[in-house]
Structure formats: structure tokens, C-alpha cells
């Protein structure tokens, strides 16, 4: 089976009126495809157009030029939204409704049978841990509780695509972990997830791919597994050894750096080449020295992010 595209964004541009004759270009000729069943991290500094992109996808605002397609159907068709679950940035709901009423109202915007609706709402309350607060009016919810409700309303109709605008914001560490698990379990269920975030470690942890947006321009698309695999920055070995070990290693006379750390018998070795790193590992083990650590030195997504964002626009 070939991989289908869940989302195809083509040459999307959007400007906002900011004065009588002035316009601000929020998005500039953005093209991006998101494959079915991938988790895609949409990164970018504040005010670079992430929320704008999402609002365009949901038809809340209209593009100057360009098109967005979901499984081949243009965003202009409201039916596309039956397959999308959207969590707005800092979601707000009718404060006079209780949690359960609010989910019920959301569900009534989809064609769901009433018994299925009830069941789903109950499942969602469990999923986001709000069962205890379901009869409380939302005006009494905390910021994090609203964020949880936001995820519940985005998932209530079992959508194929999730678009989450900063899903981690407002959540405590436990809540963030829950959110990561929810996103991962959505992938297991075959769903596609697109989310924006400022927390790069979250993106690194769960995304298949990520993109970096800067001032309305898409700068880079990164396959997260690639940067995890890459050993271009070399390998780092620490071990506890004696003079014999050092001698055998030095006899190899290859391209590496060996340093003695402050604790007398502990050594740090950096090798650029993967093959050499493994040969040395072999020697250490043969000599019966104690291996303390063996790690690839990789570039983190954060480094890529900062490098890309700092680069001045041409």
C-alpha cells in the first residue's frame, strides 16, 4: 500500500490588514505535505505564523492564495472538518456549560448517534481525567483543566487528523506526559497528528518529522529519526582502565582523542568514526576494563532549531 498524504498545503499565503494601506505578510508561499499516520511537529518562534496556518486549515480565515487539501479534498468543503479534531491555542468554551454539557454540545456538531455520543463522551472524560469535574461549570475550571477538555472535544468524534495548537501549554508535568501518551496512542490508532509547540524536547520525543517556520516562511523539514541516527558528531566513550588498556588503545594509532579525567583511572575518549569507536570498545572489553558509558554525540533538534531560526532571512 502506498503512503497517502493526509494534508497537502500548496503555495499558501496570507496577509492581514494592519493599517489603511498596510498589510502584514503572516505566511509566505508555504507548501507542506503531511503523510497519513505520522506525528508532525510544527515549530517556530512566537508570531511566525503557526496559529495562522492552523486557522487557515480550518477555514476560520481565508488565504490570499494557495490551497489546502485533506485526503485530496479542499478545505473549502466544510465536510473535511468531520475528519479533523482541532485544539485551538488557549481554548475557550462556553463558561456557563458544565464539562459534560460542553462535550455534548461539541458532539452535536457531528452526525453521531445518541448512544454512541454518550459512550464517547464518557470515554473522553476518562481519557483526559475529568470525570470528577464533569458536572462543574467551566467558569470554575483551571487553565489546565480547560486544556484537557480541549483535547477531549478535539477527539470526541474520533477524527482521522488531529491539529493541536500548543497542546502542552498550561499543563503540569503529569499532564504533559499524559498528552504525549494520548498523541502516541492516536498514532497507534492510525490517526495523523499535527501539532505546534515551543517545547522541543516534546517534539524530539514523539514526532516523526518536524518543520521550522520563521517569519511566515518554511525554513526546514527534519526527519526526527535521521538526527537520532546520525553519528556525524562522533562517539564518546568513558571507561575505567589501567596503563595496559591505554597502551593497547594507543597502539591503534587512529583518529581519536584520549583524555584522562580528574579521577585518576577514568578516561574519556572521543572518536569521530563509528568503526573506530566500535574497535576501541572491543579493546576495552578484551582488556577487562570497566566500560562506564558509550554514547553517540548527536546534534539535538534544539541545535538545529536555533541555527535555523538565527539565520537571517536573505
Amino acid at each position: 500500500m502506498s503512503i497517502k498524504n493526509a494534508v497537502e498545503i500548496q503555495n499558501l499565503s496570507k496577509s492581514f490588514k494592519t493599517g489603511l494601506k498596510k498589510r502584514f505578510q503572516a505566511l509566505n508561499n508555504l507548501s507542506l505535505t503531511i503523510k497519513e499516520n505520522e506525528i508532525f511537529g510544527y515549530l517556530g518562534a512566537n508570531g511566525t505564523g503557526k496559529t495562522t496556518t492552523f486557522k487557515l486549515m480550518l477555514g476560520l480565515i481565508f488565504p490570499d492564495t494557495g490551497d489546502i487539501k485533506f485526503w485530496g479534498v479542499s478545505f473549502q468543503d466544510v465536510k473535511t472538518r468531520a475528519n479533523i479534531g482541532y485544539l485551538p491555542e488557549n481554548p475557550y468554551f462556553y463558561s456557563y456549560l458544565t464539562g459534560q454539557e460542553s462535550l455534548n454540545f461539541t458532539a452535536s456538531m457531528f452526525d453521531m448517534k445518541s448512544n454512541i455520543k454518550k459512550e464517547r463522551i464518557n470515554e473522553m472524560l476518562d481519557l483526559v481525567n475529568l470525570q470528577h469535574a464533569k458536572d462543574i461549570q467551566l467558569r470554575k475550571y483551571s487553565r489546565g483543566m480547560l486544556q484537557r477538555l480541549g483535547i477531549a472535544q478535539a477527539l470526541v468524534h474520533d477524527p482521522k487528523l488531529l491539529i493541536l495548537d500548543e497542546p502542552m501549554s498550561g499543563l503540569d508535568p503529569m499532564g504533559r506526559k499524559d498528552m504525549r501518551n494520548i498523541i502516541l496512542s492516536c498514532k497507534d490508532q492510525g490517526k495523523t497528528v499535527l501539532f505546534s509547540s515551543h517545547i522541543i524536547s516534546d517534539v524530539e520525543m514523539i514526532c516523526d518529522r518536524a518543520s521550522i517556520l520563521s517569519n511566515g516562511v518554511l525554513k526546514k523539514i527534519i526527519t526526527v529519526d535521521d538526527i537520532m541516527d546520525r553519528d556525524s558528531n562522533g562517539w564518546e566513550i568513558t571507561f575505567k582502565g589501567n596503563a595496559d588498556t591505554i597502551e593497547s588503545i594507543n597502539s591503534k594509532n587512529e583518529n581519536f582523542i584520549l583524555k584522562q579525567l580528574s579521577a585518576k583511572d577514568i578516561f574519556l575518549l572521543k572518536a569521530i568514526d563509528k568503526k573506530i569507536a566500535f574497535e576501541i570498545l572491543n579493546i576495552i572489553q578484551k582488556q577487562g576494563a570497566e566500560l562506564l558509558s558509550f554514547v553517540p554525540l548527536r546534534i539535538s533538534l534544539e541545535e538545529i532549531y536555533i541555527a535555523t531560526t538565527l539565520k537571517k532571512d536573505q
Binding site: 476560520l60 465536510k79 481554548p91 463558561s95 456557563y96 454540545f105 452535536s108 457531528f110
Partner: protein, 255 residues
């Protein structure tokens, strides 16, 4: 249809749980109490004052409510950003707008029914018979309120809440004077004034056509034909105004 109904139901629920609803009802009560005092003070038959003032209260309090909730609906949705979660669902914007309109229409109906009941009770207190004739004034007032509500939707689909309120209030005021203005203009030599009054007369709603208060209060004969066509006029006008509101709202960025 189910989606429109859900939005309407939810909108109605909001106004019922909102304090504004009760404060406006309170305002109507004060107006009616005032009519009682006046009724006792004047030398003419108090029942006429009760009817006149009662119907006037229903009309004015109803108009204020219509403008208030009509302007408030889009403004609040945008300001509190609740609109994002709704319009990102598979519903058309016209469904959202019509649902809102029906919900607020229901709110206004409830207000009109409650206020009418109060006037009926007052009237019964003075003359122990049910003043059914009041219906001939209340029903057209209700359709006028629905039209005002539609105008408040139209204006708030493109302008700020303050301006929308001003515009809608102007429609109410001018709408009651268009025919007077036209007559006044015909008596002058000012061409611009004449043209303007004719423009207003033909393009703005003639709300006086829905005013059956004098006939009802003074027991004059009521032309059923006129009543019927006035109501048809109000409904058609309302539909056109709502269609324009939908046309504008469909193209608007939700920011």
C-alpha cells in the same frame, strides 16, 4: 437541521443562565409599574393608560433586548474566542448564524410572553376581562423585534459592537419616522432632503407599518388585511437582512 437546533438551544440556554436577561426583564417591570402610577394619577380611564404604556413597554424593552442580545452574540463569541471551537466543526457559517438567530428569537419570544402576561394581569386588575384585542398590537411588535434582531446581526457581521448598537438603534428610530420624513420633505423645496427621505423611505424598513397601538388602545377598527400584509412585509424584510448578514459573515476572517 440538528446542528442548527443544537446551536439555537445552546444560545437560548446561555441567555437564560445570563443575568442580563433578568435585568432587562426588571426594566420592563419598572416601566409597567410606572404605567400603574400614571394610570392612577390621570383623569382619563386608567385602563387606556395601562394598555398604552404596557404596549409601549413591551416594544421599547423588547427592542433594547433585541439590540443587546443581537449585538452581544457575535461580539461575545469573538471576544471569548468560543467561536473557534464551533466554526472548526463541520458546520456552515449560515447554520451557525441561523442557529444563533433562532436561539435569540426564542429568548425574545419568552420576554414578550412574560411582559404580555404582566400587562394582561394589570389590565384584568382594573377591568375584570381578558383584553384579547391587545394581541393585535403585540403580534406585530413581535415581528418588529425579529426584524430589529436581524439588523443587529447584519451590523455586527461587519462592524464593532458599539457601532452596531448605534446603527441598529438608528434603524429603529428612523424606521418609525420614514413616512413622516417623506411627508415633511415633500413640503420643502430642498431637493437633497427630498431625495434622502425617499431613499430612506424605500430602503429602510417602515416600522410604523407594524404599529397597531393607536387602533388597539383607542378601540378603532383594525384592518386585518393591513395587519396581514404588515407581517408578511416584516418577515420578508427579515429574511433579506439575514441573507445579507450571512453573505458578509461567510467571507469574514475570524480573528
Amino acid at each position: 437541521m440538528g446542528k442548527i437546533f443544537s446551536i439555537a438551544q445552546n444560545t437560548f440556554r446561555e441567555t437564560i443562565r445570563d443575568r442580563v436577561f433578568y435585568s432587562l426583564l426588571f426594566f420592563a417591570l419598572i416601566l409597567i409599574a410606572l404605567s400603574m402610577i400614571l394610570g392612577n394619577l390621570t383623569l382619563t380611564k386608567p385602563i387606556k393608560i395601562i394598555h398604552d404604556f404596557g404596549l409601549g413597554s413591551i416594544s421599547i424593552a423588547g427592542t433594547l433586548i433585541a439590540i443587546f442580545v443581537g449585538i452581544g452574540m457575535l461580539y461575545k463569541e469573538m471576544d471569548k474566542r468560543t467561536i473557534y471551537t464551533i466554526l472548526s466543526k463541520p458546520i456552515h457559517r449560515w447554520q451557525f448564524l441561523i442557529g444563533k438567530y433562532l436561539g435569540l428569537g426564542l429568548t425574545i419570544s419568552v420576554e414578550v410572553v412574560v411582559m404580555s402576561l404582566i400587562v394582561f394581569l394589570l389590565s384584568f386588575y382594573y377591568v375584570p376581562e381578558i383584553p384579547l384585542k391587545l394581541f393585535f398590537a403585540i403580534v406585530p411588535i413581535f415581528f418588529e423585534l425579529m426584524l430589529i434582531l436581524a439588523f443587529s446581526f447584519l451590523f455586527s457581521s461587519f462592524s464593532s459592537s458599539f457601532l452596531s448598537g448605534m446603527f441598529t438603534l438608528s434603524i429603529f428610530v428612523i424606521g418609525h419616522f420614514t413616512s413622516d420624513l417623506k411627508m415633511l420633505a415633500q413640503g420643502t423645496d430642498n431637493v437633497i432632503f427630498q431625495k434622502l427621505s425617499i431613499f430612506l423611505f424605500y430602503f429602510l424598513p417602515n416600522l410604523e407599518a407594524l404599529n397597531f397601538k393607536p387602533e388597539v388602545v383607542h378601540n378603532l377598527a383594525i384592518s386585518y388585511e393591513k395587519l396581514f400584509f404588515s407581517i408578511i412585509y416584516a418577515i420578508s424584510y427579515t429574511i433579506v437582512v439575514l441573507l445579507i448578514a450571512i453573505f458578509i459573515f461567510n467571507r469574514r476572517d475570524i480573528k
